[in-house]
């Protein structure tokens, strides 16, 4: 009898939780420490990206002639750079630039990669073969080299950096998606859809994609992390956002010449990149743990 009393509430709570799949993910994030902290950390970074320009103490492009290469002080919390600009303000403005580029690039990868991966998996045959061989060729080049080539062709700017990083990550993403979609393709409900006479497009949108959404969320999160690194790398070698736009990679590259005299120039942008990328990877890792049926 006592056992019976025990089992009933457990079952009903399980039901309530399962019947709301839309809030399921958020609930699961809150249950795990790592997921929770990285989620809130990410939220904070996004908020900073949005409100950065309003909370920045100074104009990020204004030169303060009385303060060239000053260390952290009351007036300039993180110091000033070689031409007297406030590093904290530049970092805050740069959050938006970096996040925009990374998120837009990942969105591009997500849309194109999902489309290519899912259609190749579902249609199979020659289409699949041709697509995957093209992806293999692109994958043979390291992502950053491919991105460099694209920027070189399009010209250095923030938008082109975004496009380059987006395109460069499509091959890896689409191959991962294709693998996931192949497992769903064999499921009974896909065959049932075919027997009903649904169009391929309908099956892809309603049967395949919802069932690989977990994997898509995890991969996209991970790709945002590498897109931030890619953005900074392009900025560092001068092919990303052009000065005077405050961009972390550009700031890092400006600071590298003064490493001995003014450590704060390169340290703070580097720290910012590290924190953001670390947070994104943590979140991706935590999401993967949540979605992994074995855990």
């Amino acid at each position: 009898m006592s056992q019976l009393n025990k089992t009933i509430p457990v079952r009903s709570s399980w039901r309530r939780e399962r019947s709301l799949p839309r809030f399921e993910l958020l609930g699961k994030i809150m249950q795990k420490k790592k997921a929770k902290y990285s989620f809130f950390m990410m939220l904070a970074i996004i908020v900073i990206g949005i409100i950065g320009p309003w909370i920045a103490p100074h104009d990020p492009t204004k030169t303060y002639y009385e303060a060239f290469m000053q260390g952290p002080s009351k007036e300039f919390w993180l110091g000033t750079d070689a031409i007297g600009r406030d590093i904290l303000s530049r970092l805050l403005y740069g959050t938006r630039v970096t996040l925009t580029v990374a998120v837009m690039a990942s969105a591009m990868t997500f849309v194109a990669g999902t489309f290519i991966g899912v259609t190749s998996a579902y249609l199979g045959g020659i289409f699949d073969n041709v697509m995957m061989r093209i992806m293999d060729v692109l994958l043979a080049l390291p992502g950053i080299v491919l991105a460099l080539a694209i920027v070189a062709a399009l010209g250095p700017s923030q938008e082109n950096a975004m496009i380059a990083i987006g395109i460069a990550s499509i091959p890896g993403f689409s191959i991962l998606v294709r693998g996931a979609a192949l497992t769903i393709k064999g499921a009974g409900y896909v065959e049932a859809s075919r027997s009903i006479g649904s169009s391929n497009w309908w099956i892809i949108m309603n049967q395949l994609i919802p069932n690989i959404s977990n994997i898509l969320i995890v991969y996209t999160t991970m790709f945002i992390g590498s897109a931030i690194l890619g953005t900074s790398a392009l900025g560092f070698i001068g092919l990303g956002a052009q000065p005077p736009t405050p961009e972390w990679g550009t700031m890092l590259s400006e600071g590298k010449d003064y490493l001995r005299e003014a450590w704060w120039l390169a340290t703070f942008p580097g720290l910012a990149i590290t924190i953001v990328v670390f947070t994104v990877y943590m979140l991706g890792d935590a999401l993967r743990d949540i979605f992994d049926p074995k855990s």
């Binding site: 009974g188 027997s195 649904s198």
Partner: protein, 318 residues
């Protein structure tokens, strides 16, 4: 009752096993020259052991798997010649109920969404959709309030009802039921079978009922085809087949059905040997290595399905 709705003529399906540069391609003959006729309003049961090609046959009829050879004549026309759009129209009249209700309902969609799919696929006007869905879900014994739920919230029997509702949405003429009850508990099996029978009366449906369970087939079928290694070896009315099976394989199969009367004496025919590989079938009659009535001719010449005492048997004994 006697107009044929579906005629399957010499249907063959080969699956490519392997092909090398200097080697002949090798095939598995999953379905090897099957001829069956399904009359309007009847239930044709198809029985046979695992791997004999029952499910492949069902899928070939729906062209879920493209048959290698043969004809599938549905309502007087060979659907194998149909183009994609014509085939799309035919699917409205041929639907399938699948074996595993845990696999055939998308876990990410609500029942409402699952049942809308056939209506979207066949462009039923939006204003009719909701009433059709509500009507159909109640016909299969569930209620409107179940529509907002997801498949995992239902038991196996309920899921199979949803699967049946999905097949029924477009009011088809032919339903191919591929082992619809074999994944269910015995108590649920009979409910689903009775539901299928009620629906058959209500919508004058025709069933092609694939099963490995003889007692299930005995319950629901009008005529039964017994398959062995991709071939139909006996086709007869249910009563005739179950009372007096003619083909030795059918005899052994039926002797394996448990009897409820403990006093009844029945001789159990136990077959020796395994099911031969369909990629390398025996010569002559495919059943001869396991047959106890094997004659010399059986090893050389394959018997054809022919009329014998008003039923069809493929055996040299008759």
């Amino acid at each position: 009752m006697t107009t044929p709705l579906l005629v399957v003529k010499n249907l063959q399906k080969r699956f490519l096993l392997g092909k090398g540069w200097f080697q002949e391609p090798s095939y598995i003959h999953a379905v090897n020259g099957v001829n069956v006729t399904v009359n309007e309003g009847e239930t044709l049961g198809i029985v046979g052991e695992s791997g004999c090609g029952k499910s492949t046959l069902g899928r070939c009829i729906l062209r879920l798997i493209e048959p290698s050879e043969g004809e599938v004549v549905f309502q007087g026309r060979d659907i194998r010649m149909y183009s994609k759009s014509e085939m799309h129209n035919v699917r409205r009249n041929m639907q399938m109920v699948f074996q595993n209700p845990f696999d055939t309902l998308n876990p990410k969609l609500t029942i409402q969404h699952i049942l809308t799919e056939p209506l979207i696929a066949h462009r039923i006007p939006k204003e009719h959709r909701q009433s059709l869905i509500e009507e159909t879900i109640e016909i299969v014994g569930l209620s409107k309030r179940h529509l907002a739920r997801y498949a995992h919230e239902f038991s196996g029997g309920q899921r199979q009802r949803i699967g049946i509702a999905r097949a029924l949405m477009l009011r088809p003429k032919l339903i191919i039921a591929d082992e619809p009850v074999s994944a269910l508990d015995v108590s649920i099996q009979s409910q689903i079978l009775n539901l299928l029978q009620d629906l058959q009366e209500q919508f004058s449906l025709t069933y092609l009922f694939i099963s490995h369970d003889l007692s299930v087939v005995e319950h629901i079928a009008d005529r039964v085809a017994v398959m062995y290694l991709g071939e139909v070896i006996e086709l007869a009315k249910k009563e005739e087949l179950f009372q007096r099976p003619m083909h030795p394989y059918a005899q052994s199969l039926l002797s394996a059905v448990p009897v409820s009367d403990p006093d009844e004496k029945r001789e159990r025919i136990i077959l020796t040997g395994d099911l031969p590989s369909p990629s390398n079938p025996p010569t002559g009659c495919k059943f001869h290595p396991r047959c106890w009535a094997c004659m010399d001719i059986c090893k050389k010449e394959a018997p054809v399905l022919k009329d014998s005492e008003g039923r069809m048997v493929a055996c040299h004994l008759y």
